[in-house]
């Protein structure tokens, strides 16, 4: 997904003189050709994430459309107050594109991981959040975000599904029993959910904010299981509000708050957090068991 992001954003910078890119060393090599072509609009501030967000706010105040990019823990966790004040409070917008996400940087340790990024943005007003599940879903998100001034977060991951689902609407990927449970997978959680082998309706979205609540209300008649690749329960508030008039039961799965002080691969971390197919199957079967 990072390669797709670099190629698409380089093309956007070429086509649209209103766009700008702010980096804090991460991915600077990949954007070197764009930086040579547009030295005034492709800016690497060095390892200064607070400044990266402040510069993005300043660029937006002059009418440009800034993109900013780093690892999620640096661009979101570290610069949270700049995102809150230098963008939101100024009534300014930007496109934040992160890599790393929850535990892509599995062997780097907790310093390079951000399971809480979407939850942090959820404390703020009017952020659109895209969590693509496949590289082919990324270009459309970037081009669309370049053409307005709102606040957009695109959370790229090294985890991906086998198939792409273009568009940002909530889709049914597999039909289960009529009036049965619905499992909604966000971004790269779709393939692990499908591999869990449950007889349920499986739905997919790459856009948890704003969540397509109208489609959700059409689908859910009893049980809803939300499976998110970031902090467990991040969407519980939104799902509860959407289904407030529907008698239903909810289960929210995702990355736990527990810091697993281990390294290994992303697959190891998925297993520790119960987000591998076997872990998902166990949690969801226990939730659906009626006896």
């Amino acid at each position: 997904m990072r390669d797709t992001f670099v190629a698409t954003t380089t093309a956007i910078l070429e086509e649209d003189p209103r766009t700008a890119l702010v980096l804090a060393d991460i991915s600077a090599d990949a954007f070197a050709p764009a930086m040579r072509r547009h030295p005034d609009r492709v800016l690497n501030v060095g390892i200064r994430e607070q400044l990266m967000a402040g510069v993005a706010g300043g660029l937006a105040l002059t009418g440009l459309r800034p993109f900013l990019h780093s690892y999620a823990p640096f661009v979101i966790d570290r610069a949270y107050e700049q995102i809150k004040l230098d963008l939101g409070h100024q009534n300014a917008g930007a496109v934040i594109v992160s890599i790393g996400g929850s535990y892509d940087a599995s062997a780097e340790g907790y310093t390079h991981q951000s399971p809480g990024d979407v939850a942090l943005l959820d404390t703020l007003e009017e952020w659109t959040v895209h969590v693509p599940g496949h590289p082919d879903e990324v270009p459309g998100m970037l081009w669309a975000a370049a053409r307005h001034d709102e606040r957009v977060y695109i959370r790229l991951s090294s985890q991906q599904n086998a198939a792409a689902y273009p568009g940002t609407d909530l889709k049914v990927v597999r039909r289960g029993p009529q009036n049965g449970a619905v499992v909604l997978a966000v971004g790269p959680m779709l393939d692990p959910v499908l591999r869990a082998g449950l007889d349920v309706t499986v739905a997919y979205t790459n856009t948890p904010r704003p969540l397509d609540v109208n489609r959700l209300r059409e689908l859910v008649t009893d049980e809803i299981v939300m499976v998110e690749p970031y902090l467990a329960g991040t969407s519980s508030r939104v799902v509860s509000a959407a289904l407030s008039r529907v008698p239903h039961r909810e289960l929210h799965l995702g990355v736990s708050r527990a810091e697993h002080r281990g390294y290994g691969s992303p697959a190891d971390h998925a297993q520790w957090h119960g987000l591998d197919p076997a872990g998902l199957r166990a949690s969801i079967e226990a939730f659906l068991r009626k006896d």
């Binding site: 700008a20 005034d40 501030v45 105040l61 700049q82 009534n91």
Partner: protein, 214 residues
């Protein structure tokens, strides 16, 4: 100017309201190319009050220059007022950035100067005002180092009323490596004007005023 309004409201922030008064007046009266008529022009000069504490001097100058009615000064901080104890750009005509939490204005000003440069507004100037205690915030030092590295046309003004808890041994100018430095008496309007009309940057004008009473 409506100094009475300054004295009536915001007792907590009163010293910081006065410390900026002469610099602000010189900026809006003699230096900035901005007026109520040009407040949305893309090539207007920009002034950012980073040190958003004690904005009454700022509000008073903006009102005196016609950005909003002077009557707005009479109920600062009320439930229906557009003027709070920290300024909000969304609510107050002429206010370029909403500030209050210290250490945000300089980064925003760096981005604005870069955005103006990228769009070819080479005559447009960007100013940002900080307090000497505000320099404690580490975010400023990210912006100071980067602005010097890219030779950004930006003027920072530091109001020095010796309010930083641990002081700045060696002087404030020593923190602005790679910047051009002017020292002025923050109550001498001609000195202030002379320093603020110098172009090319980055440049810092350190304006000394009377020590803050604690």
């Amino acid at each position: 100017m409506t100094i009475d309004a300054l004295k009536r409201a915001d007792a907590k922030h009163a010293p910081s309201a006065y410390s900026t008064l002469d610099v602000l007046w010189v900026l809006y009266d003699r230096v900035l190319r901005v007026s109520p008529e040009t407040v949305d022009d893309p090539d207007r000069d920009r002034f950012f009050l980073s040190k958003g504490h004690g904005p009454l001097a700022y509000y008073s100058v903006l009102a005196a220059k016609g950005f909003f009615p002077e009557e707005w000064l009479d109920d600062v901080g009320s439930a229906t007022s557009r003027l709070g104890h920290h300024p909000d750009r969304v609510l107050v005509p002429g206010v370029e950035v909403g500030t209050g939490s210290l250490g945000h204005g300089l980064g925003l000003a760096v981005g604005t100067a870069l955005g103006l440069r990228a769009q070819g507004y080479v005559q447009t100037r960007t100013f940002v005002l900080l307090g000497d205690a505000e320099l404690d915030e580490g975010s400023n030092h990210e912006a100071i180092a980067y602005a010097a590295a890219v030779e950004l046309d930006l003027t920072a003004i530091v109001i020095d009323n010796r309010s930083a808890t641990h002081g700045w041994p060696g002087g404030i100018a020593a923190r602005f490596i790679g910047w051009r430095v002017s020292h002025v008496d923050g109550r001498d309007r001609d000195q202030i004007e002379a320093a603020l009309t110098l172009k090319g940057g980055p440049r810092v004008v350190i304006a000394a005023v009377e020590k803050k009473e604690s």
